[in-house]
Symmetry: C2
Subunit: 104 residues, 2 copies
DNA sequence: TCTTTTTGTAATGTGTAACGTTACATGATA
DNA sequence: TATCATGTAACGTTACACATTACAAAAAGA
């Protein structure tokens, strides 16, 4: 049971939703406000918050810097939705792969 | 000190290097071999192993399936190099961001 | 040895996703 | 009312993962 042993059993929360509800709401930040502080366009923040866009590594760095978290925190959150979406899309191909008997 | 509290102090190892040295070497897998098992092209495996390409979520799922690890394991490894590269590229812009005094 | 296959890799085209720019309707403020 | 800020749609650019095609070198088989 390592750090990465997080079994995704339900749809993970989109970073945009988290950002919107946990940070912007609590800190009373508008889209324009946050964009300004992050040094990106309103469009960029808006798309993320509307869950139309994921978090790039760059954006994770910015959010980490602004809010005093690790970039990894945001990367992990994004990774979960990426894995979830990819699994929803290619589950069949993935499960067609024969697991190897491996003893490292 | 959470799971994501991994301070990146030195250049992280590329998943391709890890794959090459820890798995392919030990299990005596060729590029073509691995590609076949993963259900992707030789080109795809080759580019990853030559560190010319990163791991997509899809590829992380495949590797996890084949080797019996979590997809997250590979995602985390990739995330570290993504963050590292992005930081190397935009360090100035990131540090120009004024951290907020936040008490969640 | 000659032929056939397999292997690693370069080159090319495609699809997708993050991003900035521009534009605009709505709403706040002077 | 006139000005300015906000949220968001539309568009073009850029980057990247991927499959396809092509090919030289090595391996395997005749």
């Amino acid at each position: 049971m390592n750090d990465d042993m997080i079994i995704v059993s339900r749809e993970p929360i989109h970073p945009g939703e988290f950002l919107r509800e946990e940070y912007m709401a609590d800190l009373d930040l508008s889209v324009a406000d946050l964009a300004r502080r992050l040094g990106v366009t309103r469009q960029t923040v808006n798309d993320i918050v509307r869950e139309k866009r994921g978090l790039s590594p760059d954006m994770c760095l910015r959010l980490g810097r602004l809010f005093g978290t690790t970039p990894q925190f945001w990367m992990n959150m994004q990774a979960k939705v990426d894995i979830w979406n990819s699994m929803a899309l290619h589950a069949d191909d993935i499960e067609a792969i024969e697991p190897m008997a491996v003893a490292l």
